[in-house]
């Protein structure tokens, strides 16, 4: 297993830039998520790491060795494709043993190894079946089998659960994570599903328009987004943005808009003009005595919690509260924002202003 390092990697397809100057490090044994909307360059980044695309610029290190221009076959990595890409003309056993055959392993050893892998994945009974008739989950397992069979330096997975039904995805994602923990293999996993990324990843890179927006552990990214894009892309419902014109002075511990002053972590950056006050739905509390008011426009019941949509003078916001709170459409009530987790953004650049709370997260990424 190995550490993977990406330095200033760029990829152009003709005049289109798919990835511009990405840098991040995947530590040995990490389950690493590349997250972003479609077309953000995450798959291209993964394919460059795997050697299926060559970078236009920059370096890729696997286990300390620069491999940017090496063909995929010489990188000793495994790749799980979204559509599985099982060889349709071979049966399950032959599919799994294919990478071993290329290494010239004797057939007795291959047989034993394939048997072990099949045992781990619970597919011993389908080894001699053609891959054509397999269910989605079994195909997925065979694809995983083909990946893990030769103990590669790293696993790359391109939306491997994308082709499965919602019900089965949940199950497979647990299985995948368990497999990773058991083998402790460096894994880079591409997904557009933020929930999947948070649920499975040790670390997440959020990409947008070919740029790495933020890089860190899931909770840091959730609590301290570096940009408005990350704040919106991660979390469901996303972070609330209250737009206002005003000022935020360096060293201040509050910010004012709409005749109200809101506490927040001490700012290390000052800014003025168009600003955005960002707060997660679960960090808003309904409090009739609070001076900042909003009107309830919709209530969605979700079992243990409910999502309340409210109109305020700075835009629509969503609040997550316990279902036990009784709220009706049309109610007007006061809103209290938990000051610990507030992030202030420059509305034009979308960048978060540094405060005492997020500085540590923002400077290392």
């Amino acid at each position: 297993m190995a550490q993977i390092r990406i330095e200033n990697v760029r990829k152009d397809f003709g005049s289109f830039t798919a990835v511009q100057s990405s840098s991040f490090t995947v530590e040995d044994g990490e389950f690493f998520m590349l997250l972003g909307p479609s077309g953000c360059g995450k798959t291209t980044t993964l394919r460059m790491m795997a050697g299926l695309e060559l970078p236009t610029k920059g370096e890729i290190y696997i286990d300390g060795e620069e491999v940017g221009m090496k063909p995929a076959s010489e990188r000793d990595i495994a790749f799980v494709f979204q559509m599985f890409a099982l060889y349709p003309h071979l049966n399950v056993r032959k599919n799994i043993s294919y990478p071993l055959k290329s290494q010239g392993m004797p057939s007795a050893a291959i047989k034993q190894k394939v048997g072990e892998i099949a045992e781990i994945l619970g597919i011993t009974d389908i080894l001699d079946r053609p891959v054509g008739g397999l269910s989605g989950g079994d195909r997925q397992r065979v694809a995983l089998g083909r990946a893990i069979v030769r103990d590669p330096k790293a696993f790359f997975m391109d939306e491997p659960l994308g082709a499965l039904d919602a019900e089965f995805r949940e199950h497979m994602s647990e299985e995948l994570r368990a497999l990773h923990d058991r083998m402790n293999a460096t894994t880079v996993y591409v997904t557009h599903d933020q929930l999947e990324a948070m649920q499975m990843g040790d670390k997440i890179v959020v990409m947008n328009h070919g740029v790495v927006e933020q890089f860190g552990v899931p909770q840091e990214i959730y609590d301290w987004p570096a940009t408005k894009f990350v704040a919106e892309f991660i979390g469901s419902p996303p972070m609330n943005f209250l737009e206002f014109h005003g000022m935020a002075g360096s060293g201040e511990t509050s910010v004012s808009f709409g005749d109200t002053s809101f506490e927040m972590p001490r700012l290390l950056d000052g800014d003025s003009g168009a600003l955005t006050f960002g707060v997660r739905p679960e960090h808003i509390h309904l409090d009739d005595s609070a001076p900042y008011r909003g009107a309830v426009t919709a209530v969605e019941y979700l079992g243990t919690t409910q999502i309340i949509t409210m109109d305020t003078m700075n835009g629509t916001i969503k609040v997550r509260t316990a279902s036990s709170n009784t709220v009706k459409v049309g109610d007007r009530t006061g809103l209290h924002f938990d000051p610990r987790t507030v992030t202030l953004f420059n509305a034009e650049t979308g960048k978060a202003l540094q405060s005492e709370a997020n500085a540590k997260v923002l400077t290392h990424g």
């Binding site: 795997a50 050697g51 299926l52 063909p71 995929a72 076959s73 990595i77 495994a78 790749f79 494709f81 559509m83 890409a85 099982l86 060889y87 349709p88 003309h89 294919y98 990478p99 290329s102 290494q103 083909r146 030769r150």
Partner: protein
């Protein structure tokens, strides 16, 4: 009310069935007629009204495969009684067999040239089609159009330049010359057809093979080729049929060593009067290899001849 696919009515089924049978009859009758004529006596073969029920004879086949000379009664006596069944057939017509005809050689030439050019066409065609399908080739569209444009005029239009070229290169009347010529003519068709089939194969399969430690060329022949089998089979049949049936170039460029069967068959007509049974026998035997080849590859054909329109 839905307008999705419904079970055809009985009337539709009958109508479709009658159409298919009628079409089959129209296409199969000439074939059956040729096969039957091969077994007729010369008199039956030109009888009017045509005879449908006749006494079969192998005379046509004997005439096809042998050269005979007209014999006088004295010669027949000297030669003694016929020793074989084909001798006997020849004697009945007052001739003796002087040796085998050249049909066997010509047929063998057809096999060598037909299958040789088809094989070469497939090797070059799949590799070219793969390259056009997968790689960034400079001026790809122009090149593909150029390749297609070589088929926009009938090949025979360039017969004279080819004849002169072949003469200078010493390729006239050689197997290699004919193989190269038919390959050149068929290559554009095979590149275009095969490119379509290869385009359909998802690139992930090769990428998986690359990741699994195989080289690009190994990925091509171990993963892409088996999946392009359908396309290769149907394209091979098209190429073989063209090369097998080609007549004009064969007449023009071959006369001796490399002559194929098509220009030879009409020669039979003139040897001893109009020997239609021998011609029909030649044609019948000539049909066999393409038929066998097609039957062997038939499981690939149904999908193949729809030019990739049907996806599994």
């Amino acid at each position: 009310m839905s307008f999705s696919v419904t079970e055809p009515t009985k009337g539709t089924k009958w109508f479709a069935g009658i159409l298919v049978v009628a079409y089959a009859v129209v296409t199969i009758i000439p074939l059956l007629w040729i096969i039957a004529t091969g077994f007729k006596s010369p008199t039956d073969s030109i009888a009017y009204p045509p005879v449908v029920v006749f006494e079969p004879t192998l005379e046509g086949y004997v005439n096809l495969f042998t050269d005979r000379t007209r014999a006088t009664a004295q010669m027949l006596e000297e030669a003694g009684p016929p020793t074989t069944w084909y001798d006997e057939i020849a004697r009945e017509r007052g001739t003796v067999i002087s040796g085998p005809s050249r049909y066997g050689e010509r047929f063998l030439n057809s096999i060598i040239i037909g299958f040789g050019s088809t094989a070469l066409c497939m090797i070059l065609g799949t590799m070219a089609a793969y390259a056009f399908s997968r790689f960034k080739v400079p001026l790809k569209d122009d090149l593909l159009f150029f390749i297609l444009s070589t088929r926009m005029m009938p090949p025979i239009a360039v017969a004279i330049p080819i004849f002169l070229m072949f003469r200078n290169l010493g390729l006239n009347d050689t197997h290699l010359g004919m193989i190269l010529l038919y390959t050149a003519v068929n290559l554009s068709l095979s590149v275009w057809l095969l490119k379509g089939f290869i385009d359909e194969i998802p690139t992930e399969y090769e990428e998986a093979a690359l990741i699994d430690g195989y080289t690009r060329f190994q990925a091509f022949y171990k993963v892409v080729l088996p999946q392009a089998a359908t396309g290769i089979a149907s394209t091979a049949i098209f190429c073989l049929i063209f090369a097998w049936n080609e007549y004009a170039f064969a007449v023009l460029l071959t006369s001796g060593t490399a002559q194929t069967a098509p220009p030879f068959i009409p020669n039979i007509i003139g040897v001893n009067g109009k020997d239609w049974p021998a011609v029909a026998a030649g044609a019948t035997i000539f049909l066999v290899p393409v038929m066998v080849f097609t039957v062997l590859l038939r499981k690939h054909l149904l999908r193949g001849i729809t030019f990739g329109a049907v996806r599994k």
